[in-house]
Symmetry: C2
Subunit: 405 residues, 2 copies
């Protein structure tokens, strides 16, 4: 996979990622939902039925379209995904459910399929009814095209400052397959199953049950390792469509593993872009926890460190405050012996049971880049996991204090 990220973490070579796989088309549109006049409606279509897997927010205040999409993905098959930004269609009761259902019906009429072959979602402000007059006029005008992936990615953005797209290819039985994905951030992100909106496509023939297992594995190790602020969204979902358009036999065994690796590479790249584009963030924080008995222990400690506002605030001003790493790790619910713990900031070991005496200026210098690498070893075992977060700045507070209800 290409790793040519710019300073913000975006990858221009991945532009149009969700339509790189064969048999997919997409588009974006300005329906007028956003007051800004920016694109706010997006459609992704497979030219044939695609097997599908999806994960949804665990938030109990679930938005209307999530209820509809859960029902529509239950049979493991989809033809299309329709999404609006600018309005979350959440906390909108019966009317909200009817509106989400109507979005799938309008889309089904356009591309000639059943309404339950359409995934639907919304992202934006909570508690307002969708402007259905705008959507009834806009959806029939949508014209998905084979190079429409970038427009799709742009149209699902809310508070994002750049598009998040990633693509990878893999070979199996002499066929080259593509896996593409795009996602939107940038707040209300915390590990609790798919806490952002994202779309993946592949032209590989992956049966729905294998797809589900691969997708959950990739989500657990990428999106579910990102935290921006500890809050979780009412709407966010991740969905993948595998339409088999590149031909070949259904993937199993080694070829399924190759798909798995490509999918994890794409989802990890998107997860890292998400962390880099956290609201108000000036840098990504990468936290590897090693030396635990299980992956789950390493995951829990890494995610707990990543969400600590005290650590995030310190790093925003280059303060290498490793005491806050210890403090944050301590509430993860994982037992360890402080005497055996070691902590590194980049390649500097700053704690080894007690302070190692690294001068503060030296450690501070390691926190100045666009990414800070922290590592904590618990000395209890051999498992490890990495989580990604971002610093906490005054801009985050300003931004979220002023965001319109």
């Amino acid at each position: 996979m290409s790793e040519n990220h710019d300073a913000l973490g975006a990858n221009s070579e991945a532009e149009g990622a969700v339509t790189r796989a064969q048999g997919f088309s997409a588009c974006g549109f300005t329906a007028g939902i956003k007051e800004s006049g920016l694109p706010d409606l997006a459609l992704l279509v497979s030219d044939r039925p695609a097997s599908t897997a999806a994960v949804y927010t665990q938030n109990q205040s679930t938005a209307a379209p999530v209820h509809i999409s859960k029902a529509h993905t239950a049979n493991g098959s989809l033809r299309a995904a329709v999404v609006n930004s600018g309005n979350a269609n959440c906390a909108t009761g019966e009317q909200g459910l009817a509106d989400a259902r109507e979005m799938t019906q309008l889309t089904a009429s356009l591309i000639d399929c059943e309404a339950d072959d359409v995934f639907v979602n919304s992202t934006g402000i909570i508690g307002h009814y969708l402007p259905m007059d705008l959507l009834r006029s806009a959806i029939p005008q949508l014209q998905p095209v084979p190079d429409g992936g970038a427009d799709f990615a742009r149209s699902i953005m809310t508070t994002d400052t750049f598009q998040k797209e990633a693509v990878a290819t893999f070979e199996a039985h002499g066929v080259t397959y593509a896996v593409g994905g795009c996602a939107k951030g940038a707040g209300m992100i915390h590990p609790d199953m798919a806490t952002m909106l994202s779309f993946f496509t592949t032209d590989a023939p992956v049966p729905a049950d294998s797809l589900d297992a691969c997708f959950r594995y990739a989500m657990d190790r990428s999106f579910n390792m990102v935290t921006i602020d500890g809050d979780t969204s009412t709407n966010d979902s991740a969905v993948i469509l595998a339409n088999g358009a590149a031909g070949g036999e259904p993937l199993t065994g080694k070829s399924l593993k190759a798909f798995d690796s490509a999918l994890l590479a794409v989802s990890t790249a998107l997860a890292k872009m998400m962390a880099r584009d956290g609201e108000g963030a000036t840098k990504r924080i990468s936290i590897t926890v090693s030396g635990t008995k299980t992956w789950e222990d390493a995951r829990d400690v890494a995610r707990t460190i990543a969400v600590s506002p005290l650590l995030k605030a310190a790093l925003s001003k280059y303060d290498p405050n490793w005491g806050r790493i210890l403090m944050a790790a301590g509430r993860a619910g994982v037992a360890y012996d402080l005497d055996r713990v070691r902590i590194w900031i980049s390649d500097l070991c700053v704690f080894d049971g007690t302070a190692t005496g690294v001068p503060e200026e030296e450690a501070s210098a390691k926190t100045q880049g666009a990414e800070v690498f922290l590592r904590m070893d618990l000395g209890e075992g051999k498992a490890e996991a990495t989580a990604w977060g971002c610093d906490l700045t005054e801009e985050y507070v300003r931004f979220n204090a002023d965001y319109v209800t």
Copy 2:
């Protein structure tokens, strides 16, 4: 109990609270640990053995003095508590344990008791050894006096902007007893057992086992309902000494209940002061969740709302963003039906299954005072609980970015 709080939530009539009960003396001292020259050493003494109960931080990166105090409170009896501020004696290995132990020995020599009758704690910066030369010189000079409670309360402060003291009295069998308490905040506060440093005294005769049950109940409903930032401290502890100096029979039954109520009143008053004095906070946020099946459900939802940075940021600028209340509540792990949920900002019902259409300016006006009252009813049962938090301001970030390692 007196409720004459000033604008910041302090109660001047409670000054010297921990020495209001008979048989207690206390003092504060400037040992020179804090560069600021502010008092940084405090001693509380009972003139006779007191039964005791204590709760400690659940943080795995436990500070040295917490290990020592756990051992010293295990037998349910204490004579004194010695505390320094300005240095947490955390992440200091074997040396840290030896230093904490020596603090109890120095105190025991001063007041003529055993070292294991002394509770010890430290609060301040993590990862530095205690300046034992200063403490060896200072502790023998301490002169606890019967009206030293206010000096004690002042000397345990770190980032607090005001002293936190509260006092209540109750009667049993014709005897009037006092319960006093003081606490320090103001960051790294989140519900996970005793996440602040606090000291309670009473001259009532309460046996250690009853005292333990009463104390845990009061902590669960007061200190464990306060969150400032979701982080939890490595050092914090709450301890109570009951010395029976006011005489009378050991409390049981109705008289124990009277003690219980007085203790809960004192700890709740301190908890609310803590929330009001959160780092960078301009207001207290009081969140009552009702209509749940169990108190635990109400507690979990209330605490999860209280810690949401998105809601806290919105309220800092008077944005009555109830969508963020729904969003935050949704990740508490408590099941509910969004259609049955109601939300109030002060006395205004803003959500009743769907938006009620209250004009934003009207709701915003209810968020302008020194305390914002939020209520969420889940419509599932009859239990309720209240949590206290504070708003999130740019000042919190500035403060914590600049705090010295």
